[in-house]
């Protein structure tokens, strides 16, 4: 008991208490500068009618789908290449490099590179005869751009997780497949991917929760715009709380987001049978 006391204290002070207080604040009108006033379910009723909230959820889902979809495919691809082609430590280090750069720095560097008038990417596009693309300014491009930047930053790290998972697959299965004359392509679909499932589920759950939390890239580049194209849910919560001092409403949205994430994670674990391995 005594040994876990510091951790417990930290958990209570920094997690349990703030969560409870946040839940309480979600039932109040709280401007931060004056005492919270209990207002029942008013914040939740407002949320149902708030088109910005629904837009923010929609935009966030669009981001998560593009981000996680592209990132997972690329990560598995890179992991396979690392596993089958090279054991070079240098290559592994290079692949992880983007992940070691701070989010905000990554976002700002890309923001400059993708500038429509003075950015290097549009200069290159110009050389091959493509008109400049307003990556951050066009409402159709903004979310794919933000998602792409974060794929670039995170895919190496995700690939390493998948790579670790690959190493848990026993060699004898592959030897058996080879003896039976299975092609590389077939082996991947029939053996590698099914046996990788528990690891992939873990990776998906973790990266998806992280992906829902997209905030910093938006905060330092588009700030929710153009129009409402990148007003993702965390950015909207932040705006409500810290620029509009609407803490009660922001807390209510944070709580709803928490519930959504819990349900999504549970569903993923259930549907993909995370606890069982096909190896048995």
């Amino acid at each position: 008991m005594i040994f876990i006391a510091p951790a417990t204290l930290g958990f209570v002070v920094f997690y349990i208490w703030p969560t409870l207080r946040g839940a309480y604040l979600s039932f109040t009108e709280y401007s931060l500068l004056s005492a919270p006033k209990f207002n029942g379910l008013a914040n939740y009723e407002r949320m149902v009618q708030d088109s910005f909230f629904w837009n923010a959820l929609g935009v966030t889902v669009e981001y998560v789908v593009i981000n996680i979809g592209v990132q997972t495919v690329l990560a598995v691809g890179i992991a396979m290449l690392m596993y089958r082609l090279t054991k070079s430590i240098t290559v592994r280090a290079v692949i992880l490099a983007p992940y070691l750069v701070a989010n905000v720095v990554v976002a700002l560097v890309w923001y400059w590179m993708l500038d429509v008038q003075v950015g290097i990417v549009n200069t290159f596009l110009g050389w091959v005869g493509i008109d400049p693309v307003a990556f951050f300014g066009d409402s159709h491009w903004a979310i794919p751009t933000v998602a792409g930047i974060n794929v670039w930053r995170h895919m190496g790290y995700t690939a390493l997780l998948v790579f670790a998972g690959l190493q848990t697959i026993p060699k004898y299965v592959y030897e058996a497949a080879e003896v039976d004359g299975s092609t590389e392509w077939k082996t991947f679909w029939r053996i590698t991917l099914p046996l990788l499932r528990p690891v992939l589920v873990m990776v998906l759950v973790v990266t998806m929760i992280g992906s829902f939390q997209i905030f910093d890239t938006v905060a330092v580049t588009t700030q929710g715009g153009p129009i409402n194209a990148t007003r993702v849910i965390y950015y909207y919560i932040y705006e409500r709380a810290f620029t509009r001092f609407d803490f009660g409403y922001a807390s209510a949205m944070a709580l709803v987001l928490f519930a959504i994430l819990a349900v999504v994670s549970l569903l993923q674990l259930r549907l993909l049978r995370a606890k069982e391995s096909d190896l048995a």
């Binding site: 920094f14 931060l32 500038d115 429509v116 003075v118 307003a134 409402s139 919560i237």
Partner: protein, 451 residues
């Protein structure tokens, strides 16, 4: 970044840790009674204020000032957490878009009694400036320290190449129908990829190399550096009872026709599309790279334009409009006292000092901003001239009294939240200027719900 955790953490900490925080470095207990903490966000002004603090301490040995500087983005959230955790600075730089809410919530100190007691002469400030710091409740919340207006920053190599004289640039006219001589100049300054000008035959508006006019954004609810002067010289006002508007007029035809003309420059190819404008790092960087001939901006940007070494930048007056004169928004900063300070007398002494000519002369000599004290202005003008700027176009509307205030409002953040996407929709042609009437209804709904 896990925001909800941070949010909750702050909320939770505020409730739990007030006694603990109060005892730490910034806390009231750890400092001497005469030692106050002062905040500002502009790093360029830090040296002048450090100098001011030195002089202040010499004149008032019983008081001393510790200056802390935080960038604009951190400044306001840090300040608010300071309010709730009792660790806010005794005195801080205030902004017209922010202090009304703080006054509304009782976080800034009304200084009327001090001003009366010490017989502070409010006549030393530029006309109208001191009154900006009288809140909606009629109480005074700060002494002005500086002010700003808008002009056109133009690339003089481009205007010379286009054969446009300085006189032409400084006597432009404007109207919402055809844009007046201002639009003619913008058209002439626009150059397509084949070198044809906007007023020459064969001009290709889809392949423009240099845009005549640049813009940073759609302007939100104030349009300070984008459309505010066009609307004003078209006879439009933000609200009933400026600056403490209770009813806004964003649906007014005078406003919607102004915006309709403005975005028409995109269709004509003289301004980049909204997507392009917003996709840029910022408007000054693009100006510095020679992508724009003219960019409107505020006087606080003089330093930034000064660093653009690849282009030669000059200043031109805003145009004369249908109302028969030029007009500019005039905004400014003031030093305000936190209501929770335990060092009121020391704080007031510092605010009074910063509002005096002694302090503003120090600020003026650095040539970074325009001082609020009229008598300090020549020093500032000389300092700007030394860096190559003739700042007369900024001063003229102030001297003529043809200025209008920033639309101050305790609900400014909510108004912005409605107006920013509404204006962006119009500028990106996803909505018609007429749709601003609906946004205006939303704004007025917010105002009536909160009064």
């Amino acid at each position: 970044m896990t925001l909800n955790r941070r949010t909750l953490l702050k909320a939770g900490l505020a409730a739990l840790a007030v006694p603990a925080v109060a005892a730490c470095n910034n806390g009231a207990a750890a400092r001497g009674d005469g030692e106050i903490i002062y905040w500002l966000w502009d790093s360029a002004q830090l040296p002048m204020y450090t100098e001011c603090a030195k002089v202040f301490h010499e004149q008032n040995p019983q008081y001393s000032v510790k200056i802390e500087q935080y960038g604009w983005n951190d400044y306001w959230s840090k300040l608010v957490t300071g309010f709730i955790s009792d660790t806010a600075p005794d005195v801080f730089t205030g902004h017209s878009s922010k202090y009304p809410l703080f006054a509304d919530k009782g976080q800034v100190l009304a200084i009327d009694d001090y001003v009366a007691k010490d017989n502070v002469d409010l006549g030393i400030y530029q006309k109208g400036l001191a009154d900006r710091w009288i809140g909606a409740d009629g109480k005074r919340y700060g002494l002005p320290k500086d002010w700003d207006t808008e002009v056109y920053f133009y690339n003089s190599a481009f205007t010379e190449a286009a054969g446009i004289s300085t006189e032409q640039l400084n006597s432009m006219t404007w109207n919402p129908k055809d844009g007046g001589t201002f639009e003619q100049i913008v058209r002439r300054l626009t150059v397509d990829s084949k070198g044809r000008r906007g007023d020459q035959p064969g001009f290709d508006k889809d392949n423009v190399k240099v845009y005549g006019l640049g813009y940073a954004d759609a302007g939100g609810g104030d349009g300070q550096t984008s459309w505010s002067w066009y609307a004003a010289i078209n006879g439009w006002k933000y609200s009933e009872g400026e600056p403490w508007g209770t009813k806004f007029f964003y649906g007014d035809p005078k406003f919607t026709e102004t915006i309709g003309w403005w975005r028409g420059l995109i269709t004509k190819g003289y301004m980049p599309t909204y997507a392009q404008a917003k996709s840029g790092v910022d408007v000054t960087t693009s100006f510095g790279a020679g992508k724009y001939a003219i960019t409107p901006n505020g006087s606080w940007m003089l330093g930034t334009y000064g660093t653009l070494k690849q282009v030669k930048t000059k200043l031109a007056r805003l145009p004369i409009g249908p109302v028969g004169k030029r007009m500019s928004m005039m905004n400014g900063l003031a030093d305000t006292i936190w209501a929770g300070t335990t060092r009121r007398d020391a704080s007031w002494a510092w605010v009074k000092f910063l509002g005096s000519q002694t302090a503003q002369d120090i600020v003026a000599k650095a040539g970074v901003v325009f001082p609020a004290v009229a008598a300090s202005m020549p020093a500032a003008k000389a300092a700007f001239a030394k860096s190559g700027w003739d700042v007369t176009p900024f001063l003229e509307p102030v001297e003529a009294g043809d200025v209008f205030p920033y639309p101050a409002n305790p609900n400014a953040a909510d108004v912005t939240a409605v107006m920013t996407p509404a204006m962006e929709s119009v500028m990106s042609f996803e909505a018609e200027p007429g749709s601003l009437a609906k946004a205006n209804d939303d704004v007025n709904k917010i105002l009536s719900a909160n009064t």
